[in-house]
Symmetry: C2
Subunit: 366 residues, 2 copies
């Protein structure tokens, strides 16, 4: 079990990763709060609620259950959760525990940041992506219509408890989807973490907590280091968007039905490599090494049928854009990225065509 | 025209009060923003939009119009406003100008604090209450169901422009309602401001900008001083709730249909005087002087028909309560209040009965 300290503008907080992480709630001052509420999904609570209470030492917390799925990340649900908290007597000194994947974490963080103008909260991430990425850093959000994360806040949690045990109940595909984000962190971190992933990837299974825990901790540490130095998304925090510019466009082009988020990021990373290669910033050998590892995670839903023009058209709506100017995160080599904000549309279009026609071909074409 | 500096945790900002306040936007760095949007009500913009643009120097700002009235203070409207901003191309570097009364200010501030995780905004308050109170201090909020301000943030504006000219189009009753809040600030400030109000009250008219401006500035200064020392509602900021504990209950008991907010606060202040008197903290002469001035503002909607029990029952839902424990703001003398958190229910009930049976009677009974 590792305890990683996050330096945040408001206050420092810990990310606890590894078997037994939930027990760390015992050394958290829960007694300072007037009442404690868990926001989670029904199925998850049924499967893990008892274990969570036993390990964390919580007794009969208030419960607010939401339906699973991205559609819960909505202002309508904020209203429902706030009403649920109110009717159970939550006040300004209550503590909210958000237990779940990215949806619960983003929604729970947003509710915590706005309920009676802000209450404390703890993140208990239960998916790979949430454990190494979304539960850390204090970004909260809900969607508005088709626009993901249009409404949100920067509001750090008081504690993050990432218990790998809970991953055992993830579906295989959801688990693998999270591994793309782990790879993203390995690419950002450098050759040592990347080589470790090359070595261990095939053994990573939801049930294999012993092998998983140190890798999750290492991936979480990448996020912690970035957000500790840049909480509010200046250029440094932007590196975490690697693969997300194209990834979001792919998700949007398929109305969030074809790809799991991590899968879209897998494609998105390979697309950004293509841009880097075409700009002469990334060498073929380095690109191939990264593409090989991404491909090893598993099969990705196809993108061949998606029009490059459609994807291009969806890019400028990325909300990271400032006045329409996209900031591309381009890998220069494993462990080193550069933000490039003037990539010609032609290059992006060509990169998307490369991507559609398969990595083998684009390696040959290079 | 006065310029009052607010010290806020995030950054200092100015409240500009008086004839010509809108012109102060000319010395604000509007050129640093990618685009500028005005959130306001249709009728208000029709009446004042042209003047505002001329005086402020703004040219063709984007417009987002909302219906007038408390019902617009809802998450549903946050969604609508955010969609409107997005469709007009607002991004992270856009500036939002919230022009209106408390509803527009609270909603606009909330949207600004959450749109793409926060954009800058300017408050252009157009009612007395907004100019001296709600537009200052960075509290934003929307209602959830019957619960006022359940969801909100602390998010200071970059500038507040209080132009008394615009008050000329307020209805007489709305204008007078704002004067109760001015009196609240005078009571908090002390004998000099209070005596000024005794002298000038009868001459205060929406059209009488010359007399109004310095009084508005003085009242705004009270708010500025409090929030500069306590942005997040510790005990100091709590003094601003004078009259609001009973006031909110009265509004809720009548489903926000009978009282304008300031009118409920007028009753609420007199109720809190009664509590203070019954606790032996406030002397009769001092109470009478304050009650007389409040009564001089104008007729208040009746409360005789409201059950004291019903009002009592609505008190503990006040969200300022921490674990059900109400913090009463009790005036000890003009210019001095005390927070009392253990007022016996009996005393509150008796005070409400006093209030219902009229100030003349309760003065006699005292």
């Amino acid at each position: 079990m590792e305890r990683i300290r996050v330096r945040s503008g408001a206050f420092p907080y810990d990310v606890v990763v590894g078997r037994g992480a939930w027990r760390a709630l015992k050394s958290f001052p829960v007694g300072n709060y007037s009442s404690i509420f868990v926001l989670t999904e029904g199925g998850l609570w049924k499967r893990w609620g008892e274990t969570f209470c036993r390990e964390s030492g919580l007794r009969n917390p208030g419960l607010v259950l939401i339906p699973s799925g991205e559609r819960s990340k909505a202002l309508r649900m904020v209203e429902r959760v706030a009403s649920g908290l109110l009717s159970q007597g939550a006040d300004r000194r209550s503590l909210l525990i958000a237990m779940g994947g990215g949806v619960v974490g983003d929604l729970g963080g947003f509710v915590a940041s706005t309920y009676m103008r802000g209450i404390d909260y703890v993140q208990v991430p239960t998916t790979v992506v949430a454990q190494v990425d979304s539960a850390i850093g204090g970004k909260t959000a809900v969607d508005v219509g088709a626009m993901k994360n249009l409404i949100g806040t920067f509001y750090p949690p008081r504690l993050v408890l990432a218990e790998p045990l809970v991953l055992a109940s993830l579906g295989e595909r959801t688990f693998r989807s999270g591994l793309y984000e782990v790879l993203k962190h390995a690419i950002l971190a450098g050759p040592r973490f990347f080589a470790l992933m090359e070595k261990s990837l095939d053994s990573l299974r939801p049930q294999n907590g012993r092998l998983l825990a140190p890798i999750l901790a290492r991936a979480a540490r990448v996020k912690v280091e970035v957000v500790s130095r840049d909480e509010r998304e200046g250029n440094l925090r932007r590196v975490l968007n690697l693969g997300h510019t194209i990834g979001h466009a792919l998700e949007e082009a398929t109305r969030y039905r074809r790809f799991l988020h991590g899968e879209a990021v897998g494609w998105g990373m390979m697309g950004s490599f293509r841009i880097g290669a075409r700009l002469g910033l990334l060498k073929p050998a380095e690109e191939n090494r990264m593409v090989r590892l991404i491909r090893r995670v598993g099969p990705l839903p196809p993108i061949k049928d998606l029009e490059a023009e459609k994807i291009l058209a969806l890019l400028p709506r990325d909300k990271k854009a400032v006045s329409g100017n996209l900031h591309w995160v381009i890998v220069v080599r494993i462990g080193k990225v550069r933000i490039v904000s003037d990539v010609p549309t032609e290059v992006v279009r060509a990169a998307l065509e490369d991507l559609k026609h398969g990595s083998a071909e684009h390696r040959a074409a290079n």
